[in-house]
Amino acid sequence: MLNVRSALLHKKPEAKTVTKLTCLAAILLSSTGIAQAADGLSIESWRSDDANIWSDVIIPAFNKSHPDTKVNFAPTPPTEYNSALQAKLKAGSAGDLITCRPFDTALDLYKDGYLANLNDLEGLKQFSDVAKSAWVTDDGKDQFCMPVASVLHGFVYNKEIFEELNLSIPKTRDEFFSTLETIKTESRYIPLAMGTADQWEAATMGFQNIGPNYWKGEKGRKALLTGEAKLTDKAYVDTWKELSEWKPYLGRGFEAQKYSDSQNLFTLGRAAIYPAGSWDIQTFNNQADFEFGAFPPPVAKSGDTCYISDHTDMGIGINANSTNKEAAKVFLNWMASKEFATLYANAVPGFFPLSNHQIDIKDPVAQEFMSWRQQCESTIRNSYQILSRGTPNLENQLWNVSAQVINGTMTPEAAAKETQDGLEQWYKPQQ
């Protein structure tokens, strides 16, 4: 009878199988976790793409100076990372080092007691406050993850098209728009490769890319947090105004153009300028057979201080229940060193180390992006810290309204009003 029943059980479709697989996966994950914890250090991460870089480059380099500590990089795919990590932490089987998502996801882990306090970590001195802001408690007192990498925003351009049309790199907004106009009138190239179908491009590559120049980077971002500034202020409305002016320079049917379409338009040489995130460098290196360069978001008039979005994307912390905390601290301090920063920046162009070291990056475009940190003031995306905690969610609203402003279905003023109204509904300092 038992046999019959189990045979029946096996035959039951989806729901059953999924649960079984989940159980199986949970068992496997937890058992590997335990096995790793037993010898040396184990790192939890979502960067499964970088697994080779860690095992072939970074860990051997660490072992040169610290031959006694075995390190194991144990990534989980990005979409499963948050839930898998949560489960492992609850079960007590997570690795010693935990790669931290920025802001609330990591903050919740710290509040639940899963991440150790890092206030006395020597290596933290190598990082600026902006870099550390993604992994600090709201009152700014406790640091729970050390910054690892950030992504920068700017514009990537096709050098061949620029040469063909005798264009120079635009420094100011007027130059930027006259460049776009020249490309539009004198060639068949698409001036700006961006679409609004996925919405996030409008917010991330548009609003957060050019915005810091309007709201003066950190100053404006902090003012929003304290309630001194409102999203209906001139700085924000003007950002959306500029976005609305992008519309004539986007490709035909940009409303249905997706992120991959934009990337393809650029790498196929059909578009001249691409509002970029630095992570695009890797894709473009692989796919574009022409030379491309990058320029930071143009400022109002030449000589103005420029501001760039230098968004903290990845940190690393210590599992509060780790049995090997001392070794973990040694490893973190090493990750704060110049050696790690150089290795990492060159292995993964487009992800930039956040420490204050001067490092050499070999990739020319990544180098260009990196150099803006010297000329410009860094800030992070303004919706990420605290402001996206409530309902309605500010980040989601920014996606929606920015896409609509570019589509021309919403005025910049209406976009400002909608987001500000949303914020006022739940955020005390803005009420």
Partner: protein, 311 residues
């Protein structure tokens, strides 16, 4: 119940029923009934910082009266009704038409047509979404050239990206994919109609339209009713196509947001939006209630009036 007792009664306890129904029932209860009830219970709680408190119907009141939630909710519900209406007005009539055409005895290669029309139904929604996005893409797509070739070029637009047309376009894609199901069901019923009834109508002097209208249609009405129910339930649970093509934010400006995507954002969260299990359960409960009410209305007012015929 001892063996000696069993002997006295008229019928012994039907243990074989337990044996055969038990495993299925157990699985059904554990993986379907229990989660459903648990969802209903969860929707009455409020979870904050890992603590859950009983709040009664508060989640539902928030969902329907609070502006931030209700706007999204009514928008999703309205879109869902549009989505359903398009399926009822386009998918099922076309399905019926195709079934009637396929069942014409003179039609050659009907097996081939049947397979071809049913093919998209078997493909993954993700593939369908991807293929149609490419076909309709203003950058790489062939639909623009196609329209120019038949002289309608000026009507081409980025349909999937415009607020006014995105939902309708998606509904048509979904219709294209699933039209095979009503076709197959109706086709099977049509084949079941005995030839002598049809022959009798022909002898009585009915033309083919009259035969269809007066003889065949009444006989397949129960199937059409069942198809409508299936469409209703499937449409109000629809999620994959929207998610595959437009993402969970269902743009532009939430014009393609259905109950499914709204539930997804609420329950699992999205980007920086943290998911809320209890609020998500409330949305899921409302979805369940809407489907339940719809099916009940249908059963009471339509299904009861339909006569079934036995051949």
């Amino acid at each position: 119940m001892t063996p000696s007792n069993q002997h006295d009664e008229k019928k012994p306890f039907p243990w074989h029923l337990v044996f055969f129904l038990g495993p299925g029932l157990l699985i059904y209860v554990v993986f379907s009934v229990y989660p459903l009830l648990d969802t209903l219970v969860l929707s009455l709680y409020n979870e904050q910082q890992g603590q859950s408190n009983f709040v009664g119907l508060q989640n539902f009141i928030t969902l329907i009266t609070d502006d931030t939630w209700s706007q999204a909710f009514w928008n999703a519900l309205g879109n869902n009704f549009k989505f359903f209406a398009i399926h009822m007005l386009v998918q099922n009539p076309i399905g019926l038409l195709l079934a009637v055409l396929l069942s014409t005895p003179k039609l050659r290669l009907s097996g081939t047509y049947r397979t071809l029309i049913f093919m998209p139904t078997m493909l993954s929604v993700v593939i369908i979404g991807f293929v149609w996005q490419l076909l309709l893409s203003p950058i790489w797509g062939i639909s623009e050239d196609f329209l120019y070739n038949i002289g309608l070029g000026q009507y081409f637009d980025a349909w999937l990206g415009k607020e006014g047309s995105a939902l309708i376009t998606l509904a048509f894609i979904s219709v294209w994919q699933f039209v095979g199901i009503p076709m197959m069901l109706i086709y099977a019923t049509l084949l079941n109609i005995p030839d002598d009834i049809v022959d009798a109508s022909v002898v009585d002097g009915a033309n083919s339209f009259q035969t269809f209208w007066h003889i065949k249609l009444p006989l397949i009405l129960p199937t059409i009713a069942m198809v409508s129910i299936l469409t209703f339930v499937a449409n109000f649970n629809a999620f994959e196509l929207i998610y595959a093509v437009k993402g969970a934010l269902a743009g532009p400006n939430f014009s393609t947001d259905l109950m499914g995507t709204f539930f997804y954002r609420t329950f699992f969260g999205f980007q920086l939006q943290q998911g809320s299990a209890s609020m998500g359960a409330a949305v899921a409960t409302l979805m369940f209630l809407i489907i339940l009410v719809g099916v009940m209305l249908f059963l009471f007012f339509i299904q009861r009036r339909i006569q079934r015929f036995q051949f």
